[in-house]
């Protein structure tokens, strides 16, 4: 297989998060515009200055990136629409980086925006995909909770991972969220509260589930020269992987596409999991966080329980995890939930976090996981980001 070429000449900068709300009477278009306005405030750029636009959303229908471009007055010479939800951040990053590197665009705004109106979550689920419409949701309509309950039921028995382990991950993320003023969850979560939460779809309980909300996330991919001209701090893209519909023969999902490509990621990045100052993992459910820790090379699956016990996942801990609180504590704004890992990873290494700073952080591993088309998440991706220039 051809090896990945380095991402020379690519700079990542200007992570922005528009404050989330539980329910919004605004549209995805409004939220996308809010994210662009936030980028404009940070960079001084206007609609005419972006020549690349990459967009991810579930609730912008009937519009795609085309409608969004005209709606928001952009005139890009490169654009892309990423329909992969939780994997969209990593994928936007990869695509925009190559466009900039090859000169197809110079300044790419990567934006994920979703609204959450009353009943829009149910409507999104109802028409989510053909397989889920035919063969998942008519089976009790538990939504993603039920699908991940089946995955968790199998995973916990297979690898001896327990609710106690998940509790530790969720409690640590809540601790991280408490320093983030934009996180929707404002109260501490104790181990006992986690353990005693009401069951949603066994073994999934309340604090295993994200809170759907409205919001937007965005960042800019450009050249180091342009970033310097704009006076923006930058990060480098050390390596990336992406894989879809991996291990289709596994009866129940116990691994994602990362497991297939992880050696390539670390070889191209020239470092190891132990060199990471933080991990920003897709956290729709803690079982998926645990799956990623193993598939991304931190430990074997049978050793997961011990690995979780032995590490501290708070900002001050041995392996800071989802330092903004993740979707579990900050909220899941649709596709923007798949951008959080990128924006938060960038903020930590560019030293502009929403909450507490990880001391001396220069490297971040980010990981995306998206789209339960039928019985499992289909899309996966990961990237290693490194601090480049602080301005």
């Amino acid at each position: 297989m051809a090896r990945q070429k380095p991402y020379d000449g690519v700079a990542l900068c200007a992570p922005v998060t528009t404050p989330y709300v539980r329910f919004s009477d605004q549209t995805a278009h409004w939220w996308a515009g809010a994210a662009l306005a936030a980028l404009a405030r940070q960079t001084g750029l206007g609609p005419a200055d972006f020549d690349g636009f990459c967009f991810a959303s579930f609730s912008a229908g009937p519009d795609t990136v085309v409608g969004m471009v005209q709606h928001l007055g952009l005139s890009p010479r490169w654009m892309d629409h990423i329909p992969t939800g939780g994997a969209s951040g990593v994928m936007a990053l990869r695509r925009a980086a190559r466009a900039v590197q090859m000169g197809d665009a110079e300044v790419v705004a990567c934006v994920a925006a979703d609204t959450n109106q009353i009943d829009s979550f149910r409507q999104t689920l109802q028409g989510f995909s053909r397989f889920s419409q035919d063969a998942t949701y008519p089976y009790g309509f538990g939504g993603p909770n039920a699908t991940f309950a089946l995955i968790a039921d199998n995973f916990m028995r297979e690898y001896g991972v327990t609710r106690e382990d998940f509790a530790k991950l969720c409690v640590a993320q809540r601790t991280n969220a408490l320093s983030n003023p934009l996180a929707l969850m404002k109260k501490p979560l104790t181990h006992e509260q986690y353990m005693q939460a009401r069951p949603i779809a066994d073994p999934i309980h309340l604090f295993d589930c994200v809170m759907p909300c409205a919001g937007a996330e965005a960042f800019i991919v450009t050249t180091p020269e342009k970033a310097q001209e704009l006076g923006l701090s930058t990060a480098r893209l050390a390596a990336t992987i992406e894989r879809h519909n991996a291990f289709a023969d596994d009866p129940v999902q116990t691994r994602g596409g990362w497991a297939r490509d992880i050696d390539d990621l670390w070889a191209a990045a020239g470092c190891t999991p132990q060199d990471m100052d933080m991990v920003q993992l897709y956290d729709d459910y803690p079982v998926i966080v645990a799956m990623q820790l193993a598939d991304l090379g931190f430990c074997d699956k049978p050793a997961l329980s011990r690995f979780i016990t032995e590490n501290d996942f708070t900002i001050a801990g041995s392996l800071p995890l989802n330092t903004n609180g993740g979707q579990l504590s900050a909220g899941q704004a649709g596709a923007a939930g798949g951008f959080q890992n990128v924006t938060e990873g960038l903020r930590q290494i560019l030293r502009c976090p929403l909450g507490d700073q990880i001391p001396d952080a220069t490297r971040a591993l980010i990981s995306g996981f998206g789209l339960v088309n039928y019985d499992r998440g289909v899309c996966t991706g990961a990237a290693v980001l490194e601090q480049d220039v602080l301005r």
Binding site: F121, Q133, G140, G142, L150, D153, A201, V252, D375
Partner: protein, 412 residues
């Protein structure tokens, strides 16, 4: 073990009736094709013409080699690999039926599938898969115990997919015929609480009247499908208390089209069987629909018994076959309407019935007992189409294989 169903209590008239929501109904064309087979009680999956592998969920091309797919009967064994109990749902139907158990099944045929679980099965169990129809008439994989367990049919999740007569109150439209009487008795034997037995002409006695009207659970009612007012009167009286309607009326006469046909017979048949069916539906469908999710004895089904020759026509029974054709067409349309309200519409298809109007037809002929058995089976299984006997099965199989040839054959 399943808790046996207890006789439903008398309805409190002050309590709001539970609206008849149906489970999510949006489906692909391929899933609709699966439903058409599910309605016949078959267990089918798509199999590739080229690589012969079975696939699920319904697709339009083989995921292994991109060959074309066709529906085939498949082995119905499976093992449950994972399970969950859903305790929270934002769907209007399921949120009123929680907790709801589902699992991941490894089908003997190959694919994995998300399935409904019977209360007596769980993770690690070998199960017998059934392909049912859900309340909206869509396909549903249901994992049943491999062997019969006590009160298996009373499982509350299973009862959502069936129209089991147990403890239900049933209107049989014509008790004057041997078929109507056999159906009424079979339904009572299957656990029905009451059978309201229609009589179009209470002033005229009919064969078997004393015996059938003395059976415990039979309540004779005045009902003539040629008389709109009699239907309105009965629907007004019973509409809120009838859970299943079984239409047993028939008017068969011999005759051709250009030769030996009798216009009066054709008109009488059309009035009783076709216009009568629409009168019956207009009288009872709204009340059935309003009570389709009303507890253990919720309204569940409308059954219509018609000749298989409605599909093909038949030499010597041209008018009666045309009547049956119209009847099947109305039933198909009614099925589409009732799928939106959670009421199963069932067709029981018969060959020539062993009665006075088929004396010169050679055997095999369809007996009243066979028709009664088919009615009960279709209700218990939640089937949409069932053949009462071998003749009907034979014609249906040939018709499904080659409808134009079968039409020629039956009209020779």
């Amino acid at each position: 073990m399943t808790d046996p169903l207890t006789p439903p209590r008398r309805k409190d008239p002050l309590v709001t009736t539970h609206l008849g929501h149906v489970s999510p109904a949006l489906r692909s064309r391929a899933a609709t094709a699966m439903a058409a087979r599910a309605g016949q009680g078959r267990f089918v999956l798509q199999v590739c013409d080229d690589c012969a592998q079975a696939t699920y969920p319904p697709r339009d091309r083989c995921p292994f080699c991109w060959g074309a797919l066709h529906w085939q009967d498949q082995p119905n064994g499976a093992v449950i690999a994972a399970q969950t109990t859903i305790r929270s749902s934002i769907d209007l139907f399921f949120k009123d039926h929680l907790p709801w158990r589902i699992g991941t099944a490894r089908l003997d045929a190959g694919p994995m599938a998300t399935v409904h679980l019977h209360g007596d099965v769980g993770r690690g169990d070998r199960v017998r898969m059934e392909l049912k129809l859900d309340r909206a008439g869509n396909p549903a994989l249901f994992a049943m115990p491999e062997k019969e367990t006590p009160h298996m049919a009373d499982d509350p999740q299973l009862r959502v997919f069936t129209a089991d007569p147990k403890y239900r109150r049933i209107l049989v439209t014509d008790g004057r015929s041997a078929t109507g009487q056999a159906v009424a008795e079979a339904l009572l034997k299957a656990g029905a609480k009451t059978v309201f037995l229609g009589n179009a002409d209470p002033l005229m006695r009919y064969p078997g009247q004393d015996r059938i009207e003395a059976v415990d659970g039979i309540e004779p009612v005045r009902l003539s499908l040629t008389d709109t007012r009699s239907i309105e009167a009965l629907a007004g009286q019973l509409g809120g208390r009838v859970d299943i309607v079984v239409n047993t009326v028939g008017f068969t006469r011999q005759g051709g089209v250009g030769f030996g046909g009798n216009l009066n017979n054709l008109q009488s048949g059309l009035d009783l069987e076709v216009t009568g069916l629409m009168r019956l539906a207009q009288g009872f469908a709204p009340a059935l629909s309003a009570r389709s999710d009303d507890g253990d004895n919720a309204a569940a089904a409308l059954v219509d018994i018609a000749s298989i020759h409605g599909l093909t026509g038949r030499a010597g029974f041209a008018g009666s076959s045309a009547t049956a054709a119209a009847r099947l067409s109305l039933i198909a349309s009614l099925r589409g309407e009732m799928a939106q309200t959670g009421i199963r519409v069932i067709s029981v298809l018969t060959g020539p019935v062993d009665d006075g109007w088929h004396q010169n037809v050679p055997p095999p002929k369809t007996t009243a007992a066979q028709i009664a058995r088919a009615v009960v089976t279709a209700l218990q299984q939640g089937q949409e189409t069932i053949c009462a006997d071998e003749v009907a099965k034979d014609v249906l199989a040939r018709w499904q294989d080659d409808p134009i040839l079968t039409i020629r054959e039956e009209n020779k």
